[in-house]
C-alpha cells in the first residue's frame, strides 16, 4: 500500500466513524415536539404541585397563590395544542424518548374528548381554588381523574 492509499483509507475510516458518531448524537437529541410536550406536562405538574400540596395539607392554604396557580393551569390546558400532538411523534416511531402511544392518533375523537375533560376540570379548579381550601380539595378529584383518564389510555 502506498502512503497515499493508506491516507485515503484512513480518512475514509475516520469519516465513517465520525458520521456514525454524529448520527448517534442526532439520535440522542429529542424531537422538538416531544420536548415541548414534556415541558407542557412539567408546567402542568408545577402548578398542580402547589394546589395538591395545599390539598394534602403540606403547604398552607393561600387564596391568592392558589388562584394564580389554578388559572395558570387552566390557561395552559386551553392553549392550542395542534402542533404539540403532531402525528408521527408516538413511541412506536420515536422510541423511548416519548411515552405517547400511537393510540392517540388512532382514536383522535376520544383523545380530544379526554383533552376537553382536562380543560373543563382545570376551569372548574380556576373558579374554585381562590375561594377556600374545601373548594380546592373538591376540584382536585376531577382534575386527577382527567389526568389519569388520559394517561391510562394513551401513555405507556
Amino acid at each position: 500500500m502506498t502512503l497515499k492509499a493508506t491516507l485515503i483509507a484512513g480518512l475514509a475510516a475516520a469519516s465513517v466513524i465520525a458520521s456514525a458518531g454524529l448520527g448517534l448524537a442526532q439520535e440522542e437529541k429529542k424531537n422538538p415536539v416531544v420536548e415541548a410536550r414534556q415541558s407542557l406536562m412539567h408546567l402542568y405538574a408545577f402548578n398542580l404541585g402547589l394546589l395538591g400540596g395545599m390539598a394534602k395539607g403540606e403547604i398552607e392554604y393561600d387564596a391568592e397563590a392558589a388562584g394564580a396557580a389554578a388559572s395558570n393551569l387552566a390557561a395552559l390546558a386551553a392553549t392550542d395544542q395542534t402542533r404539540i400532538w403532531a402525528e408521527g411523534t408516538d413511541n412506536a416511531t420515536l422510541g423511548d424518548s416519548t411515552e405517547a402511544l400511537p393510540a392517540i392518533w388512532e382514536n383522535s375523537d376520544d383523545f380530544a374528548a379526554k383533552r376537553t375533560a382536562l380543560v373543563e376540570a382545570s376551569a372548574t379548579m380556576a373558579d374554585a381554588a381562590g375561594g377556600g381550601l374545601e373548594g380546592l380539595r373538591g376540584a382536585m378529584g376531577a382534575l386527577g381523574g382527567a389526568c389519569g383518564g388520559c394517561h391510562k389510555a394513551y401513555r405507556k
Binding site: F46, G49, K56, E99, G141, G144, C147, G148, K152, R155
Partner: protein
C-alpha cells in the same frame, strides 16, 4: 419381565390415584354462609377495595360503565392469555350463583361446577376474605346492571389447559396465612385491604417459575407478566414516599411530583378513590410497615 411390568403398572395406578386425591377441588362446608345477613352497602366497599371492576368491566369502560361487569379484559402471562369472564347478574354472568358459589370461587378458587379456576382470579389473595364480606359483596353485585355478553375462552396451551393440575398448585400456594404481623389495629385493617382484597401483591411481588408469589420479596417489584417492562416495587427501600403521599396517590392519582398514574394503576386509583380516607391511610401505613427491600 412380567414382574417388572406389574410393578410399573402398580406405580402408575398409585401415582394417578395420588394425583387424583391431591388435585381434588376442595369447597367450603355447605353451611359456611348460614346465618349471615348481607349488607349491600358494605358490599360496595368490598367491591371497590377488591378491584373487581379492573378486570371484569369491559376494557376501556369509564365512570358508571365500570359497574357493568361484562368481562373481556385480557391478562397476558407466560402461561397464555386469560380472558376475564362476565360476572354481571345475568344468565351470561353469575346471576344464578348463590353467595356460597361466590365464596367458593373467591376463597377456594372452585367454580359452581366443581372445577378449579386459574389463579388469574386472585383467589390466593381473596382466600383471606371474611365470609361476611363475601355475602355483602354478592348482595352488592346483585344490584349492578346485567350484561348478556358471552364469555370468551382463555387462550392457553398444554399442559396449562388441564385445570385439574391446579389442585397441586393450590397445595403449594393457596394459604390463609398472613404475610405481615398486625402490630396495630390500623395495620391490621391495611393488611386486610392489601392482603385479602386489594391484591397489590399479585403484580408488585415477584413470582417463581411456577407462578407462585415469592413472599420473601413482598411488594418489591416484579417483571410485568405480559413481558413488557417492570412493575415497580412499593416496599420501603423501593419507594420513598411518605404514608401521606401514598394515601393521596390512591385518592387522586397524583404522585408526590404531581405526575399522574397511568396504565393499570389508573384503574386501581379509580377503585381506591371510593374508599374512606381512613381506609386509604390504613393501606399506606401497611405499605410503610412492609419489610425493607435490600
Amino acid at each position: 419381565m412380567r414382574r417388572l411390568f406389574r410393578i410399573l403398572f402398580f406405580l402408575i395406578v398409585v401415582g394417578a390415584g395420588a394425583f387424583w386425591v391431591l388435585s381434588r377441588p376442595e369447597t367450603l362446608p355447605t353451611d359456611a354462609m348460614a346465618g349471615l345477613t348481607a349488607d349491600p352497602g358494605h358490599g360496595e366497599t368490598v367491591f371497590w377495595a377488591g378491584g373487581c371492576a379492573s378486570c371484569h368491566a369491559a376494557p376501556g369502560a369509564q365512570g358508571d360503565d365500570r359497574l357493568v361487569l361484562a368481562g373481556g379484559y385480557r391478562i397476558e402471562s407466560p402461561f397464555g392469555t386469560f380472558v376475564a369472564p362476565n360476572i354481571s347478574p345475568s344468565e351470561a354472568g353469575i346471576g344464578n350463583w348463590s353467595a356460597e358459589d361466590l365464596a367458593n370461587a373467591l376463597i377456594r378458587g372452585v367454580s359452581p361446577g366443581g372445577e378449579h379456576y386459574y389463579p388469574a382470579l386472585p383467589y390466593t389473595t381473596y382466600a383471606h376474605m371474611t365470609l361476611q364480606d363475601v355475602a355483602d359483596l354478592k348482595a352488592f353485585m346483585d344490584t349492578l346492571p346485567a350484561s348478556d355478553t358471552a364469555n370468551q375462552p382463555h387462550e392457553l396451551s398444554f399442559p396449562f389447559t388441564v385445570r385439574r393440575g391446579l389442585g397441586l398448585w393450590k397445595r403449594l400456594y393457596l394459604t390463609e396465612d398472613w404475610v405481615l404481623p398486625a402490630q396495630t389495629p390500623e395495620i391490621e385493617r391495611g393488611r386486610y385491604l392489601v392482603e385479602a382484597l386489594g391484591h397489590c401483591a399479585e403484580c408488585h411481588t415477584p413470582r417463581n417459575q411456577f407462578g407462585g408469589l415469592d413472599k420473601t420479596r413482598w411488594l418489591q417489584g416484579a417483571p410485568n407478566p405480559s413481558g413488557k417492562g417492570q412493575i415497580p416495587g412499593i416496599a420501603p427501600g423501593k419507594l420513598d414516599w411518605t404514608a401521606e403521599d401514598i394515601a393521596y396517590y390512591l385518592e387522586s392519582g397524583f404522585t408526590p411530583d404531581f405526575d399522574s398514574a397511568g396504565g393499570e394503576m389508573a384503574d386501581v386509583v379509580s377503585n381506591m378513590a371510593h374508599l374512606t380516607p381512613e381506609d386509604r391511610a390504613a393501606i399506606a401505613i401497611y405499605i410503610k410497615a412492609v419489610p425493607e427491600a435490600k
